[in-house]
């Protein structure tokens, strides 16, 4: 049977989910190492490059439809308030205003797990949606927004997780400020026994800040109704997710909703769910009978479309003198914002090293601020910084080299499930990156450098999932001239999805890349693929493309057999030509096979194969940072990052390196400068723009060396691919923090590591 339906587990959006889906049941020969392949693993310029450099790429932000109207949203200026009255008189009188919708005239559409509605008369954070104006132009809509008069009853608010956990704190919701009313608990072994066994026990507290995604393309949608059929262009990482959420909200059939996304200006997790704005625009569009474009502005991008939650982490570890971990304890809380989301960050501590006794206790705390969303390796970025800082402290405490300490606690079995990994080459990653940075030759003892500019080297380890899984499909069409189109319901966030799809098809069919076109991002046309999050895209979609192409190859051999009147086993497929193995002068090109067949287009649909049962699929890596700290100014400069990772097979070396660069530099920004600031007295966010919210610029770019230690995880799937988007960012902040300690001999336990913290630590 070529296909069957199976149950499998997948880690996505901070939790394991059971998925039941169809899988391909074929047994293909695993691919050889990349050096023996023709296209895969090479450094190929992205096939959508032309569109992006020429300005011809049409993003949702650029979609303009005939007779289109423009929508803007008015957000609450207060962190907690009830709307007493809305006066739209002046706004409605402004010429060019077409319709205004508010909480007063809209059906209650449930949002954020039923904790609020599309327009709620109780606003719980600055920016919470209050009204939407649709007008002839964007400018008129903005003008009208300013003319809306709202009478708010301001309520007491809380914008800090620690304050929100106190019993007398103002409540964000009636049911309290702690999600589910209790912490999320994990334990294995016996934590008390573990501490009794320890020779040394260390306890420390770490904290991390709120970081904002700030993708370049603002969240936006273009809506077009055609009677009962709705087409949405949306800047999204999840075309099918958006389709289903919008259809459910509007109570219309899913087949009547078409979501299109060809290009998007970044997401980083903030575009994994449908936005209120899309539903609001759909309602407004219906009212006025015209297409509507709705765009958020940069301020709203910094308020209401997600963030990486902050964290307070108390860690306690027990260790033997020989370096063996005996117990690990993690207590944490983080602010998820005004509506339910996740702020847990203990997974690295649970899963990174061999340790028999572990307990974790995590609180998701509601505050009157924008809701958190998954942000590139949610939880792991915060957790790895704290845990890998503590690991360095432990190593120092017992007088062991930090890298040796990690090797001492190395595990070949996933300590959480007790199952082996499909592959784990972390030792190789440690060794290669340590050699590349000069760990054993250049690294000095902490704070021992002379002069005002001190250098240091530090490291941190990465674990993440990223194995992807079913269901995911790809359809391949072969035309009569031998050209190919691959269609898949996936997304390219700038990650190179278009290009790797073409590369996989080219590899299998042995035809030039130029003959292949790729169409993705259209729910009405494409077979299903999962959301692009969790570093799952390449690992889920590339095997489905291989399956489709392998099936096409079989079909072509079968066709050639009928045309040449030769048995299939006497035929050989090579470079897009099918040969008679007994007489190689007798041959037929694949285009000729299609021409001789009655179908004008040959079609196959491939599916992702099943992940192997009884194994854990994880990515691993190590990053080493070399930094320079000016002890007069407190300024940290990252000189070099070496990143060595086990990510299965490299599909495209060029886009892979680029994505690693991006993850590392975002991690650098997170470590040293990014921080959303809220004024506790007013509950307002102080830095809602790209100037005051500091992100890394080209001048912060360190020297980056990317080393891939893996050849392909052939146990995992047809292509041996694991994801890279999130692994790239996970260890960067930890490596930089450990390097800063190595430079100045004082540990900074709170991110971002800003000059004031360095100076305070050094001189107070």
């Amino acid at each position: 049977m070529p296909r069957r339906i199976v149950k499998s587990k997948l880690f996505f959006d901070e939790k394991f989910i059971d998925t039941i889906g169809e899988v391909s049941n074929e047994k293909y020969k695993p691919w050889e190492p990349n050096e023996k392949l023709k296209v895969i693993g090479k450094s190929i310029p992205r096939i959508d490059g032309y569109d992006k450099v020429s300005g011809s790429a049409v993003y949702t932000f650029d979609v303009n439809l005939p007779h289109m109207a423009y929508a803007r949203i008015l957000g609450s200026p207060f962190p907690n308030a009830k709307i007493r009255n809305i006066n739209l008189k002046k706004a409605k009188e402004l010429p060019g205003v077409l319709v205004i919708i508010t909480s007063e005239d809209e059906p209650k559409i449930s949002w954020y797990y039923g904790t609020t509605s599309l327009f709620d008369s109780h606003v719980r954070c600055v920016g919470d949606e209050v009204a939407c104006v649709v007008a002839e132009t964007e400018k008129i809509a903005e003008d009208a927004i300013r003319l809306i008069e709202i009478d708010y009853e301001e309520l007491p608010f809380v914008v800090d997780a620690k304050d929100a956990m106190k019993p007398d704190s103002p409540k964000v919701h009636d049911w309290g400020n702690i999600l589910d009313g209790k912490p999320s608990i994990y334990s294995r072994g016996n934590i008390e026994d573990g501490f009794k066994d320890a020779d040394v026990i260390l306890e420390d507290i770490f904290s991390t800040q709120v970081a904002v995604h700030n993708p370049t393309e603002v969240h936006c949608s273009v809506i077009n109704w055609d009677d009962s059929k709705l087409t949405i262009w949306d800047s999204t990482q999840a075309i099918f997710g958006v389709r289903d959420q919008i259809a459910g909200s509007l109570k219309i059939s899913e087949s009547n909703v078409r979501v299109i996304k060809k290009y998007m200006g970044g997401g980083f997790g903030s575009k994994l769910e449908a936005g209120k704005y899309s539903v609001i625009a759909a309602l407004a569009s219906k009212k006025i009978g015209r297409p509507v474009k709705i765009t958020l502005d940069r301020k709203q991008m910094n308020l209401i479309v997600g963030n990486r939650p902050d964290s307070y982490q108390k860690l306690k570890a027990g260790v033997k003198k020989d370096g063996k971990l005996t117990a690990l304890k993690h207590y944490s809380y983080g602010a998820v914002g005004a509506y339910p989301s996740g702020a847990g960050c203990s997974w690295p501590l649970r899963s990174l090293y061999k340790c028999p006794n572990v307990s974790t206790e995590e609180y998701n705390v509601l505050i009157n601020a924008g809701r958190a969303r998954a942000f590139r390796a949610p939880g792991h970025v915060q957790g790895t910084f704290a845990f890998e800082s503590l690991i360095d402290e432990l190593a120092e405490e017992i007088g062991m080299d930090p890298l040796d300490f990690r090797l001492k606690n190395y595990t070949d079995i996933d300590p959480v499930s007790g199952e082996p990994y499909t592959s784990k080459l972390l030792k190789e990653a440690y060794q290669k990156s340590a050699d590349a940075i000069g760990w054993y030759t250049k690294r000095k003892s902490a704070g021992s450098g002379k002069g005002n500019i001190k250098t240091g080297i530090g490291m941190a380890t990465q674990i993440w999932w990223g194995g992807g899984g079913p269901p995911a499909y790809a359809t391949l069409k072969l035309n009569r001239d031998g050209s190919v189109q691959v269609i898949a319901g996936t997304q390219d966030l700038g990650t190179g999805t278009y290009t790797f799809i073409a590369m996989v098809a080219a590899e299998v069919l042995e035809i030039p890349l130029e003959k292949i076109q790729v169409s993705i991002g259209d729910t009405s046309v494409d077979p299903y693929c999962p959301s692009s999050g969790g570093s799952m895209t390449a690992a889920s979609v590339s095997p489905a493309v291989r399956d489709a192409a392998e099936q096409m190859k079989s079909k072509l051999i079968s066709g050639a057999s009928a045309i040449l009147e030769l048995p299939e086993d006497q035929l050989k497929y090579q470079d897009g030509i099918i040969y008679n193995t007994k007489d190689e002068t007798q041959k037929i090109e694949i285009s000729n096979v299609v021409q001789k067949m009655h179908e004008r287009v040959l079609i196959t649909t491939g599916a992702r194969n099943e992940n192997p049962k009884g194994y854990q699929a994880n990515t691993f890596g190590a990053q080493f940072a070399e930094v320079e700290v000016d002890i007069e100014t407190g300024k940290v400069k990252v000189l070099k990052i070496v990143a060595a990772h086990d990510i299965g097979r490299v599909l495209n070396r060029k886009t892979l390196e680029n994505q690693f660069h991006g993850g590392i530099i975002q991690g650098l920004g997170y470590a040293l400068m990014e921080e959303r600031l809220i004024d506790k007295n007013t509950g307002k966010v102080l830095n809602t723009n790209m100037h005051d919210y500091k992100m890394a610029t080209i001048k912060d770019t360190p020297d980056i060396q990317v080393i891939i230690v893996s050849q392909g995880d052939n146990l995992l799937n047809y292509t041996g691919v694991k994801g890279i988007g999130e692994p790239a960012i996970i260890p960067t902040a930890g490596a930089i923090a450990n390097a800063v300690y190595n430079a100045i001999g004082v540990r900074i336990k709170s991110l971002p590591i800003t000059p004031d913290k360095i100076l305070n630590a050094l001189y107070s």
Binding site: P45, D143, L147, P215, G265, Q659, H661, G663, M695, D700
Partner: protein, 203 residues
């Protein structure tokens, strides 16, 4: 828009913009204009649309059109002329995504009024092509993958073009200075640097 009423302070990014060889003029021009544009917003709301005639050369072609005085150059380019290659990201003169060439120099088009381009020559990303053929800077960005999501890319390329217009053989420091006003949130910076260096070599 309320934030616009604040006086513009001397700040890190404004300083970078000021010294950048790529993007110039933004800091010097804008503060005064904000006052004017605020007044015009008020008039427009109260009295309806008052439009002003504007003539400029865009990508080598002369055009005349009427705009509301408060229209930014970016809005003229995107909304009126449908040249959507120029992107808006911050719409506040902070990120460089809307960079175009005004008389050969890089400017943030979101931070300049369309009327200030009257009589001048504007080049957008689309204007770098000859027919369907890319120019060497655009080609270098593909070859060296100075792109991820691509949304900031037109602005990056225009800043690179401006650097090379001024000095075909820039040093790495000059490239970093010139490109520092363009934020790439995907952080493809190492490849952006490579792309600009390679483009300089080709010219």
């Amino acid at each position: 828009m309320k934030d616009d009423s604040k006086p513009r302070k001397f700040t890190r990014r404004n300083f970078i913009k000021g010294v950048g060889t790529g993007v110039v003029g933004s800091y010097a021009i804008v503060p005064g204009l904000e006052v004017i544009s605020k007044k015009i917003v008020k008039e427009t709301v109260e009295e309806g649309k008052g439009k002003t005639l504007l003539s400029l050369k865009i990508n080598g072609k002369k055009i005349s059109t009427k705009v509301e005085p408060r229209t930014t150059l970016a809005e003229l380019i995107r909304d009126k002329l449908n040249l959507t290659g120029t992107k808006l990201v911050c719409n506040h003169g902070e990120c460089g995504a809307c960079t175009v060439l005004l008389d050969g120099k890089a400017v943030y088009s979101c931070h300049i009024l369309a009327l200030d381009a009257d009589g001048k020559e504007v080049t957008t990303i689309e204007g770098l092509l000859t027919g369907e053929k890319l120019n060497p800077v655009q080609e270098a960005f593909i070859e060296h993958d100075g792109i991820q999501c691509g949304f900031c890319t037109p602005g990056q390329i225009m800043s690179a073009q401006a650097i090379l217009n001024k000095n075909p053989k820039p040093t790495k420091e000059q490239i970093l200075d010139g490109m520092s006003g363009n934020i790439c949130r995907c952080s493809a910076y190492p490849n952006i640097i490579k792309s600009v260096v390679a483009a300089a070599g080709k010219l």
